[in-house]
């Protein structure tokens, strides 16, 4: 009787992670050999090479004057090419969506889902394994690109990067990976909601397009409607601007661009509004130490990670309740 009670109280036997690494290994192998990923990798490598090369051509003239030369590799633009970070801002979501949009509905369409779930694993392992595989693939691709860029810089600029520059660009890499994580979690969520991979891909891209192209405008309009400037007091103007900024920050794109701004431009000492009174005593144009820059972007970075976890959790709940029969 005691044993029976104990069995009833324990919700599930075994670990939800059983089989997780088998799923991760298989999915990563799939990602890394798929034609889809090859195309995207080539695309990213080409843009990386192109933009960084263009940046180098411009930077050569200023070697020795700029203390953060290596960071300029990522941010310098040369007409007609935009800077490398600008490209990453929209290529990373694309890659992440490509990694996730057919994760679950693909298993349904191939009729493999019931066979896989009939093995002694929980659904948790399948879903989390797929997320991790996508995340690791993304991390692998971005780290490779990062190494390529740094190597290219070493070869052509002829000066080694300083520790501070390496640390800043590493943090930038971490932030970029988590920025991809959001879109991966979103694509995974849509792959659970929609039975057709095409619908999931379109929905993911629609959300991305919404935040990239429209959310900024909508945030402005909303701020004007909700905090109208009626009498022209500075407080009113300030309130409107603050609301506008807060709304803008709901977009992962905005968070990511603030992070890159603070990390790759050490002289940036505040994100968003800055009143003259806050600048008292500051020596303008001097770079912040890395710790201070990190402190500046900490809310943005945790926001990115929190959004990823939230989206994944939503997908998890939906997937647990999904009926297996097609």
């Amino acid at each position: 009787m005691a044993l029976r009670l104990k069995q009833i109280r324990r919700a599930r036997e075994g670990s939800p992670w059983t089989g997780l690494w088998a799923v991760v290994a298989k999915e990563m192998a799939d990602h890394l050999t798929s034609v889809r990923m090859r195309i995207l990798e080539v695309l990213i490598a080409l843009t990386a090479f192109g933009t960084v090369y263009a940046a180098i051509l411009r930077l050569r003239s200023t070697v020795g004057q700029d203390p953060f030369l290596f960071l300029r590799l990522f941010t310098t633009e040369r007409e007609p090419l935009p800077a490398f970070v600008g490209f990453l801002g929209f290529l990373v979501p694309l890659v992440a969506i490509a990694l996730g949009f057919d994760a679950i509905n693909g298993e349904f369409n191939r009729r493999t889902i019931s066979r896989v779930l009939a093995q002694p694993i929980y659904r948790d392992a399948l879903l989390f394994g797929k997320f991790l595989a996508g995340f690791f693939t993304l991390a692998l691709v971005l780290t490779t690109i990062w190494l390529l860029v740094m190597g290219l810089g070493l070869l052509t600029l002829g000066v080694p990067p300083r520790g501070e520059e390496v640390m800043r660009s590493l943090w930038f890499l971490v932030a970029t990976i988590f920025y991809g994580g959001i879109w991966l979690a979103l694509a995974l969520l849509f792959s659970i909601v929609f039975r057709q991979p095409a619908s999931a891909a379109l929905a993911s891209i629609a959300v991305w397009l919404f935040f990239t192209a429209f959310w900024g405008m909508i945030a402005d309009v909303l701020a004007q409607v909700l905090r109208p400037v009626r009498f022209g007091f500075p407080q009113e103007v300030l309130a409107q601007a603050q609301l506008g900024l807060a709304l803008t920050r709901l977009s992962p794109n905005a968070l990511y661009s603030e992070i890159t701004l603070a990390l790759l431009h050490p002289t940036v000492r505040a994100l968003g509004l800055l009143l003259p009174i806050q600048l008292q005593g500051a020596i303008l144009g001097t770079p912040l130490p890395l710790r201070q820059s990190l402190l500046l972007i900490w809310p943005q970075l945790t926001g990115l990670i929190a959004a990823t976890i939230l989206l994944f959790a939503l997908g998890y709940v939906l997937f647990q309740r999904q009926e297996i029969r097609a």
Binding site: Q7, I8, R12, E13, G14, T18, G19, A22, V23, A25, K26, D30, R110, R111, T112, S114, R115, V116, L117, A118, Q119, P120, I121, Y122, E323, I324, R325
Partner: protein, 311 residues
């Protein structure tokens, strides 16, 4: 009494207003081949999913190999092989790679995994095509690969959902042969089908499903006796005086029904095999016996008859 491999009591599954499975009491003994038969949408697949813990029952209890699939799904799934309806594979991977993935999900150690994969491929006659992409496989080969994959975990029970659907007659016959062999190895098999005539020869016992209920259960012969009233149908061809022959045949013991379908063809339904008596009766009534056949009871017929009687 033999050990029970599957036991359900009052098993029920509702999807909103729809009752997919209604108060099912199923008992499958160790070593037997049990067939869940019935039309599409009669609750067979839902029952199977509940047995595996892939869907939760609304009411009732399930025991599979002594485990509760709701609370101990891993123990159940480690011991039970499942071959889903129209089994799917990763088409871009080879047969062997597909098997490795499943073996890893089962937590097999590396050396054990290689051994079992080769053994299972060999057993299903797939060794020659093991390195071909599954995308190039025929329906019959996929089905055999499905069984090979199920054998990886050395199951005590194999559950197959519509295993012969979509197979050509030759492949279907081969597949039934495979089921025979599994049974010979002592593995219990539960299979579902709506193609009654195909599976009646491999099943020790069958359960007929209708609208979520198991309306009939037993061996094919028992069902025939219960539904058709007589398990033996004899076709007899004889020349001679019709009234005399008809009377002689009808008076035979155990004959339930007599029909004349052609001028000289008589169909007898009887509770026992009365071929010898019928032959003698024809001769004694002055007729010439031209042919004598016995028809095995047919599940299709049982099914049709049962539901036409139920209205």
């Amino acid at each position: 009494m033999a050990e029970l491999v599957i036991e359900t009591k009052g098993l029920t599954k509702r999807y909103g207003d729809l009752v997919a499975v209604n108060g099912l009491n199923l008992r499958v003994k160790k070593g037997e081949v049990f067939g869940l038969l019935g039309p599409n949408g009669s609750g067979k697949t839902t029952t199977i999913l509940m047995l595996l813990g892939l869907t939760e029952p609304t009411a009732g209890t399930v025991r599979v190999l002594g485990f509760d699939p709701v609370r101990q799904p891993l123990s159940v799934k480690a011991r039970v092989g499942y071959l889903p309806e129209q089994v799917g594979f990763y088409d871009d991977l080879t047969a062997r790679e597909n098997m490795f993935y499943i073996a890893k999900l089962n937590g097999l150690r590396r050396d054990e995994m290689y051994k079992r994969v080769e053994q299972a491929l060999e057993q299903m006659g797939l060794t020659d095509v093991a390195d071909r992409r599954v995308g190039t496989f025929s329906r019959g080969m996929r089905q055999r690969l499905g069984v090979a994959e199920v054998l990886l975990k050395q199951p005590q029970l194999i559950i197959m959902d519509e295993p012969t659907q979509g197979l050509d007659p030759e492949a279907a016959r081969e597949f039934l042969e495979i089921i025979h062999n599994l049974k010979a190895e002592g593995i219990t098999v539960l299979l579902s089908s709506h193609l009654l005539y195909q599976v009646q020869e491999v099943c020790d016992r069958v359960g007929l499903f209708h609208q979520g209920r198991m309306v009939l259960e037993g061996t094919v012969k028992e069902l025939a006796q219960r539904v058709l009233g007589s398990a033996y149908r004899i076709r007899l061809k004889a020349d001679g005086p019709v009234p005399a022959l008809e009377k002689a045949l009808r008076d035979l013991p155990n004959v339930v029904r007599l029909n004349r379908s052609d001028t000289n063809v008589y169909e007898l339904e009887a509770k026992s095999d009365v071929r010898a008596e019928a032959a003698r009766a024809v001769v004694e009534a002055g007729g010439k016996l031209l042919g004598l056949d016995i028809e095995e009871p047919n599940l299709d017929e049982i099914y049709t008859r049962y539901f036409s009687e139920q209205g």
